[in-house]
Symmetry: D3
C-alpha cells in the first residue's frame, strides 16, 4: 500500500527532501532595473526590481536607502478565479502579510546605509500558483534586487557594495507524520504543519515561521523540518548565483 | 532627409501599413478555461477566460449569459514604475475605461442567449507595455474567450454555438501628417491623431474611437485611417484562428 | 404603417436630421466664473467653470494651464433613482469615462500655453436626463469655459487669447436601419448603433466614438452618421455664440 | 452710525424678524414622485422624493415604511469651488450630519406604520448656497415627501393617510447681540450664536439645535431666538401648503 | 402602581433630577499629556489628550492652535457586538456627528490664540456603553484637555492661560411625560424626547440639542429640561475640578 | 560595568528568564459572553469574546463553528499618538497580520465541530502598549474564549466540550547576544532577534515566529529561545486557569 508520504507518492516520484524542478530566468523585463521569472514546479512568479531616487517621507535626508516589496496574484493564477484586489478596492490580509514578509526578508540581504538614498521596490506577481508562492517570491526577488544593485554600481550611481549576503526561502511541511520539503498546493492542503524558512547564504535564519494546521507539533518536528530545509536552500542559492551572473539578453 | 513617417524611420524599418511582429501563444495558463499570451512587438498581454456558473444579480434567471473583462498592468510593465492599483485602493480612470471597452467589444462576438447562464470573465494583464495594450487585450482576449466556449461545448455543458464572429482590434495614428498602423509607445507619444478600431471578421465595425491629440482632424484623415486598419486586422483574424485551432499542451 | 424611423414617429414629429428643441441659458450661477444651463429636450445639464490659480502638482511651474471636467447626475435625474456616487464611495466606470471625454474635448478648444498657470474645472451636473447627457455637457461646458476665459481677460489676469475654436458635440444612432440625429433616451435604448461626434467650429473632428449595440455596422453607416451630425452641430455652434455674447444678469 | 444689526443693514433692508424673499416651486422633476425647488434668497435647493417598494434589510417584513434623506452641494454652489464628494470617495462629516438631520426631521411628519412597506428617499441637492441650506432642504423636502405620498394615494397603492403634520425649518442667529431670523451666508459667518429650529405645523419642536460660535449664550438668548423663529415658520408652512396644492404641470 | 417616571422605578431608586453614580479618574494613561476615565453609571469612556506641534495645513503659520476630537466604541461596549469601524473601512454617520460635537464643545473652553501653534487631539473611546456616551466624552474630555494645557504651562512650552472656562455635558429626556436627568440606555430607548445640553461653568450654553423621538414637544417641555440639566451640570463641574487638581500617580 | 543583558539592567531588576509582573482580570465587560483584561507589565489588553449564532457565509450549514479575532490599539496606547484606523479608512498591515495570528492561534484551542454553528469573535483592544501586545492578546483572548464556551455550556446551548487545550503566547528576543524573555518596548527596540512563541498547555507549538532584526541568527540561538519561552508559558497557563475559575462579579 502506498501512502502520500512515500517518495513514490509525490508528484513525479519526488523524494521527501527533494525540491520541485525549478528554474530562475533572469532579465525577463525590458524596463526594470532587475528582473527574474522564477518557476518552482507549477508556481511561476514574475519579479522586478525598480530603483527610484525618491524615498518615503520618513527616510528622506538620512543618507540611507530602503527596500520594499509588493505581492499580487493574477486573478486566474489559481484553480478558481480569485477576485482582483484592485477591483475590490483593497489588498487582502494574506497579501499584506506576504508582502511585508518579502520586504523584511530582502532587507536582510542589503546594507541600507551603503545603498544610499535610493528606494528599490520588488514587485512579485504570481502568474501561476501551485503552493509556495511567498518563498518563490523571496528567492526570485533576491535575484532582481541583486541585479538592480549591480546596475547602480555599473552606472556609477553608487560606489559601495551594499549586497551583503544572499537570501532564499523554502517551505516545508508534515503530512501523515512525515516531513516533506517544498510542498505543492495539493500537499499543502493536507499538511498538518506548515513552515516557511528564510535563510542567508551563510546558513543563518532571517525568519522562521512554523504554523500548526489543526494539530500542534512537538519540538522534534521543528528540528526535522529545519534539517530538511537547509539542503534545499543550498540548491536555491546556487541557482541564484547562476542567474545573477547571466548576461542581459536585451 | 528622413522623417518619422518614412518607413525607414519606424523601428525595424516597418512600413506605414505594417503590423509589428506579433504572436498569439495559446493555452498559457494551466488553470483557465481559455488563455493566450499575445505579443504585439514589445507589448505582451496575458489573457485568461474564466467560466463561472454564477451570474451577476441583475442577470440571474433570465436564461442568458454574460461576458465581462478586467484589465491591469503589472507595476513595471512600463518604463517608469506605475503604482499598483490594489495598493492605491482603486482602479484608475484609464483602467476602467479600457476594461469597459474590452468587455463591450468581446460581447459583440457572442450570442449571450445561446451561451446560457454562464459568466465568462476575460482578465487581461499587461506584462510588458509598448503601446496598443487595449487593442492587444481585445485580440488576445477573443482567443481566450473562444477557447473557453469550445471547452463548454466539448464538456457538453452547452450544446449551442454561441460564438458568432471573431473580434480583433488595432490602433493607428497620424504622425507629421502620415497615417501609420499599430503605433508603438514612442510613436503614440508623438501622434497627432489616435485611433482604435475594433472590427468583426465580417468587416463590420464594433467600435471606432478616434481622438485628436492636440489637433482636430478632417474627415479625409478618418477615411485613410479606416483603410489602413482593415488590412492589419485581416492578419490578426488569421492568427486568432490558428491560435484557437492549436491543441492544448498541458 | 408607421415605424419608429418615420419622422412622424419621433416625439414631436421630429425629422431624422432634426435636433430636439434646445436652449443654452448663460450665467446661471451667481458664483462661478462661467456657467450655462443647457437643455436638449428633456436633458438638462448645469455647467460651471471654476478658475483656480492652483495647478495639479505635475503641471506646476511649466507656464501652462489646464482644463479638466467632472460629471455627475442628480440621483433622480433618471426615471428610476440612481444611487448617489458620494454615498457609494466611488465614481462609477461610466462617470469616469464620460468626464475624461468632456475634459479631453474641451482642452481642444484652448491653447493651454496661452492660458498660463490657471486651472479651469468644468463641472457638469445633470439635473434631468433624457439621453445625450455627455454631448450636452460638452456643448454647454464650452460656453462656461469661454465665459471664464473672457472674465480672465476682462479682469486683466491674462492678456492672451487662449480660446482657439468652439467645441460642440452631438449624438446620433441607427434605429431599424435609419440614421437619426440626437437620440432621446427611448430612442437610444433601441438603437443598433450609437455615435458621439465632437467637432470644432472649423469642421474638424476632436473625437469620434461609434459603438455597435448588439450589431456591428458597415462603413456606409458610419459615413451616413457623420453627414447627419455635421448639420446638427452647426446649429449648436450658433447657439453657443449667442450664449457667450449674452450679458451677465447678476 | 449703522451696525449690521440695524434692519437697514441687512441685505435688501430686511427686518430682524423677516425671512428672505422665498419661493417653493413644485413639480420640477419630470421623473420623481414628488419634487420642489426651494429658493430662500440665493439659497436654492432641488428636492426630490423617490418611492421604492424595496426596504432596507432591517425593516423588511415589519409592515412599516421608511423615510430617509441624502444631501449634497454642487461643487460650485459655493463662492469657492468645493471638492466633489464622489471624487473624494466619501461624504464629509458635515454632509453626513446634515442628511441625518433631514431624514430624522421628515420622519416626524409621517406615520411609518400607515405608510406601509415603501421607502421614500428625499434627495436634497444644493444648486446655489447662501446660508441656511439644511433648513431649506427640510422645508422643501417636506413638499416633495407630501406630493409623493399623495401620488401613492391617488394611484391606490395605499389607502391610509400617513402624513400627520407639516415640518419646516428655519435658522436664526445672533449678531452683535441682536437676534436675527434666517441668516444669509455673510451674516452666518459673523454670527455669535447659530440656531436651527425644526417645527411641526402644530407649533411643537421636532429638533432644536443651538450652537455658540465662539461665545456661549445665556438662556435669555435662547428664548428670544425661539420667539423669532416661530413667526418665520408660519410663513413657510403656508407656502408649503400652496406648493402641495399646485397642480403638476407636466 | 409604579410607573417608569416614579423615582422608585429608576435603577437604584434614582430621583428624576439625580445623576447616575459617577466618577472621573484622572491620569489613567501613562503616555498621554492628559487623560481621564469617566464613569457615568455603566457608561465608561477613556479620554486622552495628545499634544502635537504639527497643525493641520489650513491652520499653519497663523499663530493659533486647534483642538479636535475623535470618538469610537469598542466593538463589545454594547449589548450586541457592533462592527469595528476600522474593519468596515469608514466611520459611521453617528460617530462623525458625535466627534464633531465633542470637538466643537471643547473648543469653547479654550482661547486658541493663547494656546499658540499646538494641536490637541481628544480621543474618547467608549469601553462600556449604557447611554449618554457623547456627554460623558465631553465631560471627561475636558479634564484631559485641561491637564494637557497645564502640562504645556508646567513645561514652559506656553506662558499663556488658554483655558477660559469649564465645559461639561449631560443628557436628559422625557418618559411618559416626565422629564428625567441623565438617561441610561434602557430609559433612552423609551424616551419621547432626547436632549444633550453642553454648558460652560459660567452657566451659558455651548450647545443645546433637543430631538423629538416620535413625538414633537412643546416649549414648556424644553423649559423643564433646561431647568433639570443645570443642577446636574453643577455636580459635574465640581468633579472636573477635583480630577484636575489630583496629582499624577505615575 | 553593567550591560543591558545583566539581570540588574532590566527594568525592576528582572532576570533574563523572568516574565514582567502580570495579571489577568476576568469578567471585565458587563456585556460580553467572555472577557478579560490582561496586564503584562505596562501592556494592557482588553479582550472580549462575543458569541453569535450567525456564521460567515462560507461556513453556513456545515454543522461547525468558527473563531475569529480583531485587534486594535487605542490611538494613545503608544508613546506618540497613532492615527485611528477607522479615521484612515483601513486597517494597517501590522494590524491585519496580528489579528490573523490571534485568530489562527485561538482556533487551535477548540474543536470547531464540537462547538457547533456558533461564531465567537475575540476583540483585543490595546489600552496601553509596552511591547508584546500580540502575545498578551492571545493569552488574554484565550481566557475570554474559554469563558464564552463555558457560558454556552451553562446555558445548555451546547452539550459538547469544544475546548481541547489552553493556548498562550510569549515573546522573547536577543539583546547583545543574550536571550531574554518577554521584552518590553524599550528592549524590543534594541533586540537583534525577535520571537513570538504560541504553545498549547500540552507543550506543543501552535506557531513559532522568529525574525532577525538586522542580523540573521544561528540555530543555536533558536534553541536557546525555545528553552526560555517554555518556562514563561507555564506561569501563564496557570494564571489562565485561575482567571477562568474566578466567579463573575456582575
Amino acid at each position: 500500500m502506498t501512502s502520500p508520504t512515500d517518495s513514490a507518492s509525490r508528484t513525479g516520484g519526488r523524494a521527501a527532501s527533494e525540491l520541485r524542478p525549478f528554474e530562475i530566468i533572469p532579465h525577463v523585463s525590458p524596463h526594470a532595473e532587475g528582473s527574474a521569472l522564477i518557476k518552482m514546479g507549477n508556481t511561476h512568479v514574475y519579479c522586478t526590481a525598480s530603483v527610484e531616487d525618491r524615498l518615503p517621507p520618513w527616510l528622506k535626508g538620512k543618507g540611507r536607502g530602503w527596500v520594499t516589496a509588493e505581492y499580487a496574484m493574477l486573478p486566474r493564477a489559481t484553480k478558481e478565479r480569485t477576485q482582483r484586489e484592485a477591483a475590490k478596492g483593497k489588498q487582502g490580509g494574506r497579501t499584506v502579510e506576504i508582502q511585508r514578509l518579502i520586504g523584511r526578508s530582502l532587507r536582510a540581504a542589503i546594507d541600507l546605509d551603503a545603498l544610499g538614498e535610493f528606494q528599490i521596490t520588488i514587485d512579485c506577481d504570481v502568474i501561476q500558483a501551485d503552493g509556495g508562492t511567498r518563498c518563490a517570491a523571496i528567492t526570485g526577488g533576491y535575484v532582481a534586487l541583486a541585479q538592480a544593485v549591480r546596475l547602480l554600481q555599473r552606472t556609477k550611481k553608487i560606489t559601495s557594495h551594499p549586497i551583503k549576503r544572499q537570501i532564499a526561502a523554502v517551505s516545508a511541511g508534515v503530512i501523515k507524520g512525515t516531513p516533506l520539503l517544498d510542498l505543492d498546493y495539493t500537499e499543502d492542503s493536507s499538511a498538518e504543519v506548515d513552515f516557511n524558512v528564510i535563510m542567508t547564504s551563510e546558513g543563518n535564519f532571517v525568519e522562521v515561521q512554523g504554523t500548526a494546521e489543526g494539530k500542534a507539533f512537538p519540538r522534534a518536528t521543528l528540528d526535522q523540518i529545519l534539517d530538511l530545509t537547509a539542503t534545499g536552500l543550498e540548491e536555491l542559492f546556487a541557482a541564484q548565483r547562476a542567474a545573477i551572473e547571466a548576461p542581459k539578453r536585451h
